[in-house]
Amino acid sequence: MSDITKQSLSSLVKNIKDRKLSSVEITKAFIDRSEKSNELNAYITEDYSSALDKAKKFDQKPNLDLKLPGIPMAVKDLFCTKNIRTTAGSKILGNFIPTYESTVTQNIWNEGAILLGKLNCDEFAMGSSNETSYFGNVQNPINKNLVPGGSSGGSASAVAGQLTPITIGTDTGGSIRQPASFTGTVGLKPTYGSCSRYGIVAFASSLDQAGPMAQNVEDCALLQEVISTYDPKDSTSIDFKRNEYSKELTNNIKGKKIGIPKEYRVDGMPQEIDELWQKGIQYAKDCGAEIVNISLPHTSYALPTYYIVAPAEASSNLARYDGVKYGFRARGDDLIEMYEKTRSEGFGAEVQRRIMIGTYVLSSGYYDAYYLKAQKVRKLIKNDFDEAYKKVDAILTPSTPSSAFKIGEKKDDPVSMYLNDIFTVPVNLAGLPGISIPAGHDDKGYPLGLQIIGKAFDEQNILNIAYSMEEKIAFKNNISDWWIK
C-alpha cells in the first residue's frame, strides 16, 4: 500500500485491524521517512531498531482489540521512557536514562503502540519556537527557516511532516496548541488533572498537561481516550468519568452556544487573524451553533500572571538538577561551586532567565507583590471563565496572534516571544481544555489555527465542535516535502 505515512492514525488502525497492513510495514514506512527527514531535526533520540523488533513481535501475535495496534509513534522528549534517554531538550539531562516510564506513555504502549524515538522540544518546555533546545532548533515542514512553534516543536514538526502518525506533547502555556497552529495540525490541551503528570519532566506543575497532537480531530480524540486516565501516583490527577472520546465523537453541535470574547481582539492583531476568527464564527454558525458575545475582562492580565506563576514553579521544580543524582555535573572544588557551575553550564539562557525570574518573585520582600498578586489575578481569570460558562458551552478564539515566524526573528526579544502565547495562556491558568484546529492560511500560505476552549472535563464537547468545524473548513496543509532530497 502506497503512502502509508500520509494516512491518518484512524485509517492506519483500520488497515491493521483489517489485516491490510502489518505493523512492520507501517513502522518501516515511518522510519524510512524519518531517516530522510534529518534536516527537520525533529528527533533528539531515535529508537528505530527496537521499534522494528517490537513491530515484528506485534505481527507475530497481533492483538487487534487494542486501540493503537502496532502503531509506531514518536513522543516529546519530556516524557520519561524506560531505558531510553530522556533529555527535556537540555544539556543537564543530556545523558539521563530513566529506569521508569511516564504514565501517559505507558498508557500508549499498553494499547499496542510502539516507540519510534524522542522528539525535540524547547529546553524544559520553555519556549515558543523550539529554539531553546540544547539539541538545536527544529524546522517547520511548512517552510524552511520557519519555526514550528514551541515548546512541542519537534512533535508538531513530526506530525505535520508525517514522521509519526500521531504524537503527544505537553502544554504549559500553549506548547501544544501554538505549534499545532504553526504547522497546520490539531493539538489538544486537556483539562488540568485529566492526564497524569507522573514521569513527565516538570516545568510548571500547576499548569503542565500532556495532550495529543494529530493530523485530524478524530485521531486526536482517539489518543486522548488512551492517555487520559486517573493516576494515584499523581496527587493532582482527577478521578472523573472519562468518555470514549473517539466513539462518542459527533459532528452534531446544533444549538451549542459558542462564546466570542471581545477582549481577544488585542491591539495590533494582524487583520488576517481577525479575518480567520470571523470565518471561524461563520463556520460555527454553519454547523448549527449559536454565537454569543461574551466578556473575559481579565484576559490582558493573563500573560503577566503566567510569567510570574510559571517561572516561580519552574525555579523550584528545576532545583533538583544539581549534578548530584543524575545528569550533567561540572567540576567544582566544593559543593557550592559545583552547583553553580553545573547549573550555569547545564541550563541554557532561557531556562536560566526563567529560574531567575521565578527566584526573584518568590524571594523575601517580593512574594506578596508578585507571586501572591499573580495567584489572586489567576483567581480573577478563572472567575471570568466561570461566569462565561454560565452563558455558553464553549469559547472560540484564534490560537495565536500570528502565523509561524522566522527562525531567529524573536530570539533576542523575550517579551515579544512571550506574546505568542497570549491566547493560549489563559486556558492553562484556568485549568481548562483547549483545542487548536487548522482553519486557514495567511497571505504567505502559512497555516493559522482556531482555538476552542471548553468547560473543565468537557473534552468531548470541544472535540465535537472541532470535528464538526473541521468538516466545514476542509483545511489542506501545503507540505511540499522540501527537506527530502
Partner: protein, 491 residues
C-alpha cells in the same frame, strides 16, 4: 508562677537575667513508609537502600501523601489538646543542599495541620503549662557524611522523605530543667499515642532551641538565637546554659546580639555561629503545586479521638484518686506508658487483698534498680508483672518477710520463675508457728542467761540482740513480729 528555689537566673554584678526558651522539636512519625513515598523508614539500614525514585527526586516523580502520617499528626495534636485544622496546605521550602534531593523540603508554612495547644509539666514546685504554637508535617532530609573521605562528602538518602512532626512551643520555658521536663513530657505523650518512638539516639527526636535573655522582670523579648538540631536533653541543657551566658555577657559589654542560627559543638561545649550558611537563606516558601490542600472532616477527627488512649495527665489523676498514690509516685509511674501498664497489671494480678503501697515501692525500688543496672526497658523486664504481684502478696500475707523477698526476687530473675515455687523449693517460708518459735526462743534465752538478766535489769538495747539470735537460728525465716511478741513475753 510563684517564686521558687529552682528559678534559673543569671547574675552579673547587680543585674539578674532570666532566659526565655522556645523549642522546635522534630519528632519522627512512627510509620512504615515515608511521608510522600512508599519506601521504608527503618532505622539502621544499609546506605541508600530505602530510597525510591521519589525520594531521590528523579525527573517527573511526584509526591503522594501517606494517610497514616496524617492520622499520626492529628492524634499528636489531640494529645497536645490542640486545635486540629481541617484544612492545611503543604509548602515548599527552597534551599540547596547535598542531602536535599528535590532542592526543597515539603513542609507546612502558613497553614499547619495542628494549631495551638498545651503541655503540662510536673516541676518539683508544681505544675507549669507550656503553650504549643503549632504542629506541622514535613519531610526529613538525607544524611551528609563528611568524614569518610578527605575531598568528598558522601550522601545517604535513607532518611530523605521520612515524615517528621515539627512541634513548635511558645517561648514559655525558663530554664534548662524545664526544657528537660518539656521534652520528656512530649516524648511521653507521643509514646502513649504511638506516634513517635522518641528515640533520641536514633534521631527520632531532635530540637532547634531558641534562646534569648532579658532583665529579670522585663516583659520584652530579647533578640533570640536558634541552636540547630540538638539531639539529646543533656546537650540541650548545656547549649542553653552556654548560650544564655554568652548573650548576657554581650549585653553586659554593651554589644548587640545578632539574631542568627548557631550550632552546638558537643566537644567544646559551646555554641558557634553558622553564618556562612546564613547569608543565602531565603527559603522562598510557596504552596507545593504538586499537592492539593489537605482536608479532613469532623468524622475523620472524631474517629481518631476514639483511638486516643488515656494520656499521662489523666492517668496520673486516676492513680492518685483510685490508688491513693502521692503526686510524686504517680508522676513516676505514668511518665512511661509501659511502666504504667506494668503497674496496673501488678495491681490487677494482686487480686483482692492488695497492698498498693508495697507494689509501688517494689516497682520504683527493686525493679527499677535492676532494669537500670541491666539497661533494660520495662517491657523487657526479666520479672513479669504477674510474678511480681505474687511475690508482693507473699509478703503481704506473711508467707515471707521483706528481707527474704529480696532473695526470692534475685532468684526470680533467672527465667521469670514463680516466687511461690522458689519459696517452696528453697524452704524459705516464714516460720509463724508460735509453738516452734517459743521452743527456739527458750533455747536462746537459756544459752544466754547472763544477757537475759542484764536486759531485765534495764539494758533494753539487748532486745535487738535476742531478735537477731532468733532470726539467725531460724535461718532468717522466723516471722519477726511473732519473735517480738514472744521475746517480750519471755524476757
Amino acid at each position: 508562677m510563684s517564686k521558687n528555689k529552682s528559678e534559673y537566673l543569671i547574675s552579673r554584678k547587680d543585674n539578674q537575667y532570666e532566659v526565655v526558651i522556645g523549642l522546635e522539636v522534630h519528632a519522627q512519625v512512627t510509620s512504615k513508609s515515608k511521608l510522600f513515598s512508599s519506601s521504608a523508614t527503618k532505622f539502621g539500614a544499609e546506605p541508600n537502600t530505602q530510597v525510591s525514585l521519589v525520594d531521590a527526586a528523579f525527573p517527573g516523580m511526584l509526591p503522594v501523601i501517606n494517610e497514616f502520617c496524617v492520622k499520626q499528626a492529628i492524634k499528636t495534636g489531640i494529645g497536645l489538646k490542640a486545635k486540629i485544622n481541617k484544612r492545611s496546605v503543604f509548602d515548599r521550602k527552597n534551599y540547596f543542599y547535598a542531602d536535599l534531593p528535590q532542592g526543597y523540603q515539603i513542609s507546612q508554612f502558613k497553614n499547619p495541620i495542628v494549631g495551638e495547644g498545651k503541655v503540662i509539666l510536673d516541676m518539683p514546685e508544681g505544675q507549669k503549662e507550656v503553650g504549643i504554637e503549632r504542629l506541622h508535617l514535613e519531610q526529613d532530609a538525607g544524611k551528609s557524611i563528611h568524614d569518610l573521605d578527605p575531598e568528598n562528602t558522601f550522601v545517604d538518602l535513607n532518611r530523605s522523605g521520612v515524615a517528621l512532626m515539627e512541634i513548635v512551643s511558645k517561648p514559655d520555658l525558663r530554664s534548662p530543667e524545664e526544657v528537660s521536663a518539656y521534652i520528656k513530657k512530649l516524648r511521653s505523650i507521643m509514646r502513649y499515642l504511638g506516634t513517635c518512638d522518641g528515640n533520641m539516639q536514633e534521631g527520632s527526636l531532635r530540637a532547634d532551641v531558641n534562646v534569648s535573655v532579658r532583665s529579670k522582670g522585663s516583659k520584652d523579648l530579647g533578640t533570640r538565637c536558634e541552636i540547630k538540631n540538638v539531639n539529646s536533653i543533656k546537650f540541650m541543657q548545656m547549649a542553653i546554659d552556654y548560650e544564655a551566658n554568652r548573650q548576657v555577657d554581650l549585653i553586659e559589654e554593651g554589644k548587640p546580639i545578632d539574631q542568627e542560627t548557631r550550632l552546638f559543638d558537643t566537644k567544646k561545649n559551646e555554641t558557634r555561629s553558622m553564618r556562612s550558611k546564613e547569608d543565602a537563606h531565603d527559603y522562598r516558601y510557596f504552596p507545593d503545586p504538586d499537592l492539593l490542600p489537605l482536608e479532613v472532616n469532623d468524622e475523620f477527627i472524631e474517629k481518631l479521638k476514639t483511638d486516643i488512649p488515656e494520656l499521662p495527665d489523666d492517668k496520673k489523676k486516676r492513680f492518685i484518686d483510685k490508688f491513693k498514690l502521692s503526686s510524686y509516685e504517680a508522676t513516676i509511674l505514668v511518665s512511661d506508658i509501659e511502666t504504667a501498664k506494668y503497674f496496673e497489671e501488678v495491681i490487677v494480678k494482686m487480686g483482692k487483698n492488695k497492698d498498693i503501697k508495697l507494689a509501688v515501692n517494689w516497682i520504683t525500688g527493686e525493679l527499677f534498680a535492676i532494669l537500670n543496672s541491666k539497661n533494660l526497658e520495662i517491657s523487657q523486664s526479666p520479672i513479669s508483672a504477674k510474678n511480681l504481684a505474687i511475690l508482693i502478696n507473699l509478703i503481704k500475707n506473711g508467707t515471707i518477710s521483706g528481707k527474704i523477698a529480696k532473695t526470692v526476687f534475685e532468684l526470680m530473675m533467672d527465667g521469670d520463675k514463680d516466687p511461690q515455687k522458689i519459696v517452696e523449693e528453697k524452704g524459705l517460708k516464714q516460720q509463724s508457728d508460735p509453738k516452734a518459735l517459743e521452743t527456739l526462743i527458750d533455747k536462746i534465752i537459756n544459752d544466754n542467761r547472763e544477757k537475759a538478766i542484764e536486759y531485765k535489769q534495764g539494758k533494753e538495747k539487748l532486745f535487738g540482740f535476742f531478735v537477731g539470735q532468733a532470726m539467725k537460728a531460724s535461718g532468717g525465716k522466723a516471722n519477726p513480729q511473732l519473735i517480738n511478741e514472744i521475746l517480750k513475753k519471755k524476757l
